[in-house]
């Protein structure tokens, strides 16, 4: 019996798996009794390819593709992506890192290397969620970096013309 706590889109589920049948070949059926929060669900599963699963639940067929990164398991399903954070000793740090709460200080980081071509807001400005802070040019495109929340622009850590690397902190909003 495996038990997990899985958070996706701010909601947390408690999941328990009971293997009910195991596979004799790579594509064969695996059966699970699943307890999702309080509901019991019978799931037919088969491994298709590395990181990919076929699930059948009450006749409905789902072609699922999973990819694990440091923070979460990304689950691709019928065109949508779900970032699933599976509880384990690292989960607390993880949840903080991906910042489910948007209270308090928030750092804006560069999601890729590029060059700061324009500064839009100044330190001290009151910023609305979605308001532009600065513009980075990368891959021959200008991209406005916007505030994820309402607040005040506390720090501005780059100057116009500066080259930034991925993950570099650009500004702090509070």
């Amino acid at each position: 019996m495996n038990t997990y706590e899985i958070s996706v889109g701010g909601k947390t589920y408690k999941v328990e798996l009971q293997p009910a049948a195991t596979a004799h070949n790579p594509n064969a059926e695996l059966k699970y009794r699943v307890l999702l929060d309080a509901r019991e669900i019978n799931v037919s599963c088969a491994r298709t390819n590395e990181g990919s699963l076929s699930l059948i639940v009450n006749g409905e067929s789902f072609d699922v593709h999973c990819k694990a990164n440091a923070e979460a398991i990304q689950v691709y399903l019928r065109g949508a992506t779900y970032e699933c954070v599976v509880s384990d000793p690292r989960s607390l740090r993880t949840r903080k890192k991906i910042g489910l709460a948007d209270s308090g200080e928030q750092k804006l980081t560069a999601s890729m290397p590029g060059k700061v071509v324009r500064i839009i807001s100044q330190v001290g400005d009151q910023i609305k969620a979605g308001q532009g802070i600065l513009v980075i040019e990368a891959m021959k495109m200008q991209n406005e970096v916007r505030s994820p929340k309402d607040g005040q622009l506390k720090k501005l850590l780059v100057r116009q013309g500066a080259n930034v690397i991925a993950g570099e902190v650009l500004a702090v909003i509070e």
Partner: protein
């Protein structure tokens, strides 16, 4: 099959280089690729018969470096060079250098490129030829004052454009007088960065116009035909996102007028090979010349599907001196085609580029689906070049079927490892305005102003179950492990709840 050229050098990268290599192979021509350092394992290197390194990542030192490209062409004995789109495709200097080196440039003459390369000169020439234009200046603005004067004369909104421009860079829409000065400055700095010239001109803005372009094909014996239009109104930041052929807004009569105007324009420029005239069309089916692209367009596949012709085969045949194998009367449009440009960008973060290693790519196929891709699983999408991954194209007997098929294909398309804009197409392809053919250049901003589709609760629960099983099967390569401190089992007090609905 008779060989047109023994060997062609492809002076490009990504999906278009692959598409050109395919055409060469189909014509029995050997294809030589060139590559920059980070592109050593790019798909266009894998698919080519030969491949030559031409320098570091910076385009200026590789894909934009005429000397290195000609060097490679001479070294491998290429008889012709195809520039694709972007990079040097509209660079007269390359065309000229090819001529000097006795290598055939697959495209128009340097003179035609030069003429159409300068929006101001092109405008003078086209106006002489009787091609209709949006009211505006045909020369760069010498001052902010002049800009204010002209804008006042035409009336707001007005559009600022880089004279050397293209692809929307150095372009600004100005709604009110107060924005004019700052917008002009922004346009100039962007133009300077993008094209090395800050010449910017001004014209009256047609609000919510359609962006419709006409494909032409001219041989080197004075024959020229038009191959129908492409509807390219769906744009983000003046970059096309989804194109279709034919345009829902074009009647056969309007098509004929547009086509004949396009042929006029091409002849006025002594044009040969494939070219595209971009028009701005208003709601009363007036159309105005925007610019001529003196190269193959990104979206050429939709014209190929509807005409049944292969534009690249024809480009190569024309460059080899052949005459057009058909007349205008032979060109028949059949059915409908749609193209989606699939980019490595994050729709949830203002479409910011999303580089990374492609971990898996499940590609759609089947009836009416064509995929021109530049990636493969294991390929690392870098930050040095445009983040276009592939072009997904559908054909249908009519527009509804073309939409239904590409919607189906988008649903089958899975790319993991980078974020993509596939979800954007899901929205467009189910949007009532799009289904009704109500697309103009303001379409996307209107779509974005609508509330996005609700997250699917039932599917989210399936995703949660999948994540749990994925962890239990330990497919995470150690990145995940079962909970160390298991929460107490709920089986004992498990309400035998209904199955999920």
């Amino acid at each position: 099959m008779r060989k047109l050229f023994k060997k062609i050098l492809i002076a490009n990268r990504g999906e278009i280089a692959v598409r050109l290599i395919r055409a060469c192979h189909e014509l029995g021509i050997s294809a030589a690729s060139v590559y920059s350092e980070p592109d050593r394992a790019a798909l266009h290197v894998l698919k080519a018969d030969e491949a030559y390194a031409i320098g570091p990542a910076a385009a200026a030192e590789s894909y934009l470096n005429i000397e290195r490209i000609l060097e490679a062409a001479k070294r491998c004995g290429a008889e012709a060079i195809h520039p694709g789109y972007g990079f040097l495709s509209e660079n007269a200097a390359l065309a000229k250098a090819c001529g000097d080196a006795g290598i055939k440039f697959i495209g128009p003459s340097p003179a035609s490129i030069d003429l159409m390369g300068s929006k101001t000169r092109a405008r003078q020439q086209m106006e002489k030829a009787g091609v209709p234009f949006v009211p505006g200046t045909s020369r760069g603005l010498e001052s902010v004052a002049k800009a204010h004067e002209l804008a006042a004369k035409f009336g707001y909104p007005v559009m600022l454009k880089a004279a050397a421009g293209g692809g929307g860079k150095g372009m600004r829409l100005v709604a009110t007088e107060s924005e004019l000065a700052s917008s002009l400055e922004a346009a100039r700095s962007e133009a300077q960065r993008a094209f090395g010239s800050d010449e910017v001109y001004l014209e009256k803005a047609i609000t919510d116009p359609r962006h419709i372009e006409m494909q032409i094909l001219a041989d080197e014996h004075g024959n020229c035909v038009y191959l129908g239009e492409r509807e390219c109104s769906i744009q983000r930041r003046h970059q096309k996102v989804l194109e279709e052929c034919p345009s829902p807004a074009v009647t056969p009569e309007m098509r004929r007028r547009m086509g004949e105007t396009a042929v006029q324009a091409a002849k006025a420029a002594n044009y040969s090979n494939a070219g595209t005239i971009e028009f701005l069309a208003d709601s009363r089916s007036n159309f105005y010349f925007l610019e001529m692209n003196t190269r193959l367009q990104v979206e050429h596949p939709i014209t190929e599907l509807v005409t049944g012709l292969d534009l690249v085969h024809l480009q190569i045949r024309i460059a080899a001196g052949e005459k057009l194998p058909f007349t205008q009367e032979d060109i028949q449009l059949r059915g409908h085609a749609i193209e989606c440009r699939v980019y490595a960008e994050d729709p949830d973060n203002n479409f910011f580029p999303s580089p990374g290693r492609i971990s898996s790519s499940i590609e759609p196929s089947g009836p009416g689906i064509r995929l021109d891709s530049g990636i493969y699983p294991g390929w690392n999408v870098g930050t040095d070049y445009d983040p276009l991954l592939s072009k997904l194209v559908s054909y249908g007997a009519d527009r509804d079927q073309a939409i239904a098929r590409i919607r189906r294909a988008i649903g089958e398309y899975v790319i993991t490892g980078v974020k993509t804009n596939l979800s954007l197409f899901r929205r467009i392809l189910t949007d009532p305005d799009f289904l009704a053919g109500k697309t103009d250049t303001g379409y996307l901003s209107r779509l974005f102003s609508k509330s996005p589709p609700e997250p699917h609760g039932h599917q989210r629960e399936i995703a949660v179950i999948a994540a749990a099983i994925y962890s239990a099967l330990d497919l995470t390569n150690g990145k995940r492990t079962p909970a160390k401190d298991p929460v107490p089992s709920q089986w004992k007090h498990a309400a035998r709840a209904e199955a999920m609905e």
